[in-house]
Structures are given as C-alpha cells and as structure tokens.
Symmetry: C2
Subunit: 461 residues, 2 copies
Amino acid sequence: MSVVAEEINAVVDELSQLLGDRLSTSMAVRVHHGTDLSYHTPQAPDAVAYAESTEEVVEIVKICGRHKVPIIPYGTGTSLEGHITAPEGGVCVDLSGMNQILEVNAEDMDVTVEAGVTRKRLNEYLRDTGLFFPIDPGADASLGGMSATRASGTNAVRYGTMRENVLSLEVVLADGRVIRTARRARKSSAGYDLTRLFVGSEGTLGVITKITVRLYGIPEAISAAVCSFDDISGAVDTTILTIQSGIPIARIELLDDVQIGAINAYSKLDYPVKDTLFLEFHGTEASVREQAEQVQEIASEFGGSNFQWTTKTEERSALWQARHDAAHAMVTLRPGASVIVTDVCVPISQLAQCIRETKEDIANSGIIAPLVGHVGDGNFHLGYLIDLDDPEEVALGKELNERLIHRAINMGGTCTGEHGVGCGKLDFLIAEHGEAVSVMRTIKVALDPDNIFNPGKVVRV
Amino acid sequence: MSVVAEEINAVVDELSQLLGDRLSTSMAVRVHHGTDLSYHTPQAPDAVAYAESTEEVVEIVKICGRHKVPIIPYGTGTSLEGHITAPEGGVCVDLSGMNQILEVNAEDMDVTVEAGVTRKRLNEYLRDTGLFFPIDPGADASLGGMSATRASGTNAVRYGTMRENVLSLEVVLADGRVIRTARRARKSSAGYDLTRLFVGSEGTLGVITKITVRLYGIPEAISAAVCSFDDISGAVDTTILTIQSGIPIARIELLDDVQIGAINAYSKLDYPVKDTLFLEFHGTEASVREQAEQVQEIASEFGGSNFQWTTKTEERSALWQARHDAAHAMVTLRPGASVIVTDVCVPISQLAQCIRETKEDIANSGIIAPLVGHVGDGNFHLGYLIDLDDPEEVALGKELNERLIHRAINMGGTCTGEHGVGCGKLDFLIAEHGEAVSVMRTIKVALDPDNIFNPGKVVRV
C-alpha cells in the first residue's frame, strides 16, 4: 500500500457515514472485488463501496479525491487483463446496484442505462420491443465495464464494437463534476469526441455512470452454418473473400482443431476435428439463404467441406452455446490447469501467417493452447493451459504471449483487440504506440492530476 | 493581429529559407486561403506555407511554435463553418501538395494516404481494385480535412462517418513530435482512442498528415429510387420503419418541396413538387430488388406515391447529380443571394416535429430556405437565401439558425451533424455540451499549451 493508512481510515469513516452498510471492509468482499477472470495476481482494495446513484459516486469520488485515495470502478468482475486489481489499495466502487434501465427510445433505436446493467438483462428487458443490443463479449458483463474496456465479441464484424455503439456517456470526473459526453443524435461533429475518449479508458479517466447505446431490429431471419477446413488458410481466405464480397455476415468465428476437440468432448458433439468456421447470417428469409449460398460457394473454393446450415433455432442455439462454452471446454484438455488468454488482432491479410507462426511456436513449447477467433476482424484468442503454481510454466506462457504480441505488432496489429490493457499490457502498449503513449499520459495527467482513477492501468504516470 | 509583427516577420524569414517559393505572402494567396464556402467573414493568414512532407510540417510547426505564431491547416478550403479563417493571423499550412496514395491493402480493405488526397482522386485510383471509399460530403474535400471535421454525407446511414472509417492517423503535435494514433487492425482496445480524439479536432490539437481509412467492396448491384409524399411526416416515418426493419439502405435523402422545385428548374427535371425521398440500395441483384420492394411497401403505408426505382447507371447518376447540385440549384430561387447553411441532427423520432416547427419559423420570416436531409441519420440542412449586404437579413438568418439549434438541442440533438464547430458554433457547443466543453478545453490546453493550432475554433482558451 502506497497510500498512508490514516488516509484510508479517514476515507472509510467518511464513506461509512455516507453509505452505511454499503461500505464493506470485509476481507472476503475485498478479495472478491480484486479478483477478475485473468491469470493476474489478485490484489484486494482496502474497501468496497456499493454505489446506487450518480450522486453517491460523486460523493465517493470527492471523498477519495480529498485524501488522494485510489478509486477502482467495478462492474461484474469479468475483466481479462487485471483491470480491477488494486496494486495501490484504495476503494473499489461496485456499480452493480446502479441497475436501472432508464429510457428505451424504440423509434430512435437507443437505450439509456445505468452502468451496472448487464447485457443479458438488457436484452431480456428489450425482448418485447423487437430490438436488441448486439455486443456480446461472452461474459454477462455490465454496460459500464463493456464501455470502459471497449468490449466487442462474436458479432462485431457486423455490428461493430462498443466504440461504434455507445452514443453517449455520463461520467464522474476526478473533481466530482458530472459530464454527459454527447446527446442522442446518431452523428455529430460538435467538438472533441469525448464519448470515444472515455470508451476504452478502463476507469482511469473517470467513473462511467450512465450509457446510451444503439439498438438494432431483431432480424426477420437468422441462420447459422458450420464448415471445416484442412488448414487454417482455407478458413481465413474464405473469411477475406466473404467480407470483400460485401456479404453482411453477422458472425464468422474460427475454432482450430484443438478447440474443436475440446468442444466435442465438453458439449458431446461430433464436429470433424479440423479448423472450423462457425457462421451466422441476419436478414430476410431470402437474404439469409442467399448469404449462406454465397459463403458456401466461397468456402468450397478454398477447400471447405461439410458445409451445414440451419435456420432452426435449437440447432443454432446449440452451435453458439458450444462456441460460448469454448473457455470451459478448453480446460478439459488439461484438468486443473489455468488459462492465460491472449488477444491480438491483426490486419486480416496477415491472419493466416500470424496464426501459423504462432502455432509453430506453441508446438515447440509443449503447451496446449486451443484457438478461437473473431476472424472477420482479424482478432483471435489462444488459451495457454498452464499450471499457475509452476513458475517455469507461467514464465513460458508469458514468453509465448510476448512473442505473439510482437509478431502481431510487426504485422500492423494490436496487442489487444477487445480485452484492454489493464495491468498486463502496459509495456506492450508502448511497443505498439510508441510516442503516442506519452499523449495518452498527458491526457491522463490533465484529467486526473492526482492519479486517483484506477492507478497502474493503461499508462504509468 | 494579436501576434506581434516581429514574430510574424521572423517566422516568414525562417519559413522562406525552408520552403523557398512555397512560402507565399501574396495578398491574393492569403485571402484565398482564409476564405471557405461559408457565410463567415473571411480572415486572411499572414502567410501560406505549401508543405510537401511530414518532415516539412514538423519544421513549420517548430518554427511557428518557437514564435508562438498560429498554424491553420488547409486542405481544399471547402469548410462550411469558417474553419480556415485566421482571426489571429498566422501561417496557413496548405497540405494539397501532400497528395500521395501511399499504400492500398486490398485484402485488408484499407488505404493509407497523405492528407491532401481528395476523395474523388482516391476513388479514381481505386477503380481497378473493386474497392471504394464511401464517405461523400458533397465537395471533393481532402481526406485530411474530412478527418479534421468528422465529415460524412449521403451514405453515412450505411457506411458511417469519418469517425467509423478512419483506422489510424499520423499527426504532428505542437512540439513537433509525430505520432501514429493506431495500427491497421480493424479493432483494438489498446489505450485511449487517440484516432477518434483527432478525428473532429478541426486542426486545433495537431496537424493530420497521413490517414488510413477503411474501404468497401463495390457492390455487385446498385439501384436507386425516388418517392414523393404529401407531407414530411410520411417521408420521415418511411425512413424510421426502413431502418427499424434492418433494411441495409445505402442512402436515404429527404428533399422538401422547395428544394425539389429548385432542382427541377436547375437540372431540367420534372419531379412532383412535393417532399421527396431519394434512395439507394447496395447488394446483390436479388437483394437490391428485395430492398426496393420492402421500402416501396413501407412508403405506400405512409402515403408515398410515384415510387420509381431503377438499376440503370445513367438514371441513377442523374438522380445523384441532381442531389449533389442541390446547393447550386437553391441559389436559382433567389439569384445573387448567398446561403447560410444549417446542420442540426436530431434523434430520428424528433425529426418530423423538428422540421415542422422549423418550417413554420421560416415561413413567418419570409426567408426562402430549401431543405435537404440525410434523414436516415436525423441530419438535415437548410439553406437560408440571404443578401449578405443587408445586415437585417443576415441578423434574421442567424436568429433562425439559433432558434433551430436550440430546438434541436432540446430534442436531444446536436448543433452540427457533419460540418463542425469552426468559428461559428463556439457558443452552441457550450449550449449542447455544458460542462463537457471544459473537459475539451483541458485537453486542448494540455496538448497545445501555447494555443498555436487554429486558435478561435472549437473551444475558446
């Protein structure tokens, strides 16, 4: 702890007066709130404040700010890069109690929610409107957390990421001021794009308290398809030509043979154990049929086989359930192992080469590492199955990840397609952006001069 | 001039040594470079520097920075809100000589260009690749200028604005450092979104020297349609339902009866003089037919008549030429008049009401003001036909615009959908964003502490 104990004690006193039993210093609660889904070592905050309104967040920020005590915003704790660890202690602000869906504008196809609303709850709420919110990072994350990490997922290839889908944010700044970054217009050239500045800022510039996002009409027809390939190149070339042809594919996911093997075992399925594309098409009845036919033709050109497509909801659900269970399934390949997840994203022309070199590197290491990829965006994940109690294995996993990231950066790619920087990629960010990181630091210092917001994440100050 | 003459003289001397006859102080050149397409009073810079490389821009910025002399980046001078006026004098940096198309990545569907490349030249260059760059602000603007103003245009409803389509920028900062804001990956969660911060910064945070943008496959089929309505509501309701139905419409433009009358006269056409939608569909042959049929059905539900659609290239070109000539056509309604162009954008549910109230206001004023709108985004323009030599008329035009903007803001909209803030909307920006403008100012001061970049635009310092 770099913050002196008296300051923490004073903050805990003041916050207890403000929040009563919604301020917790219990060890179990603190440890829970410093632990995400990543391999990074959990670090507990000194206290957890359960906020129920923007006004309470303002008071919490003011109290912490006066004492220069760190503030770590918390949604559902499903971060994958150590975003919620508390390396300098401080107060975790749990926003899950801010869970009101405030305003659905069906004609405008947007909705405003409090930061703690999760994506599944939002979609359940929207069910009767004919609208849905497409961003799907796997976990049932909160909209606040998804905004903060610039999350995306399986259907970003069609609907974009949080960057494209957040219309406006309410943010509490370091001095307790509250701003709204934009109004609800679909487009605007009115000044600097503060919305996009806070989307992806990972809690280091302010606390996001409300979010307005775009919605979409539930498609008239949805169909899904599976197709296997003898090698990754065929799957990637199919993806490239599909996108170049302007086919408005909704999902195009790559699972390598290792991952397919795991899924078959875990989900009791019998896909050919090959590199495989899972696809989804949204549109009219005629359009989804035409899209599927077009992609089937492209796939067959590149050695795709067993192309099977379906419009049946149950079959489609089973397919995507299997895809979403990929993370659980992969652990069955090495029971008891932990997973180090990677997240590079490269220009799609480099994807096959990047995957091939990476798989060679992995093969030489002896580590098991299934691959899943949002291949339409050039983004793929490996899960290194590691015994976290074995320092040599951990070091090996980190080395593999480091080589992968430098490989991706050298190909014009990024160290993180959708998981964020957190505490795990500070140096990779510098490798990727160079001098631009100093501009990020200038902005951080200008907006948070005392470095109270999520210190140790994104940029070092 | 607020900058002392000695400093200007010193800068001119140093720049002349650097650039030779590519540094001009001729009155004609200076006046030309301080004059855009707006109604704002032109203000000439003290000198115009024709840069031909990033390295030259760096030297220009360093020289101006040392003497605290303003720098105004210049693309094609087609700005609509006074972005290139020089209220404090200084050096206009003309980037039209930076016109190299540096790298087309056909598989990745992106291209990197120097800032002076114009959109039409880019599309001519791309013709043989099967790819195109969709953003279409009317004028043949430069990619640098389009990035700086967050431009869009007729097909933003399908392809997005510059916000969604810029992948990466090279920017020269106030101290002469050069950064690249991102790599070429389609998505990234690697740190603060500097790309989006500079897109729309209007030359106030740095000089954009290179731009990487997304490209799209030229659609297999393109069709266009026209449909007229007895009132604006029918056209707007058709638009809302079209978008809610998920029809991937490429263009949906509203022209009111006044504008249609002007176009008929100017382009020798015979559209019914009614509120009219111009539409375009992109896709496969089957898909564009299906889309047109769907929209026709929706339009007829809301009183649309004379629905005519075509896949013939000549007819389609004639239609969009007429649309693009709208600005020229409107002037024929009052020969010799100048145009004050408005640019609000509102949530689409408010669009009909906003237009109705605005038209009442205009009717009461006696001013002629045709309307064209990118109605799928909720963005529309009025052209107030004004005698700029008549102060009362100018004041009336400004009052109408002011009432329109406050009406739009009160409806959840923005003062500018695509033209930018420039020198014309500083106060409207405050009305729209409130406290958030002070965050913009904090960022401006942090990145440009001496206020050398395009002073007097976007935010007051």
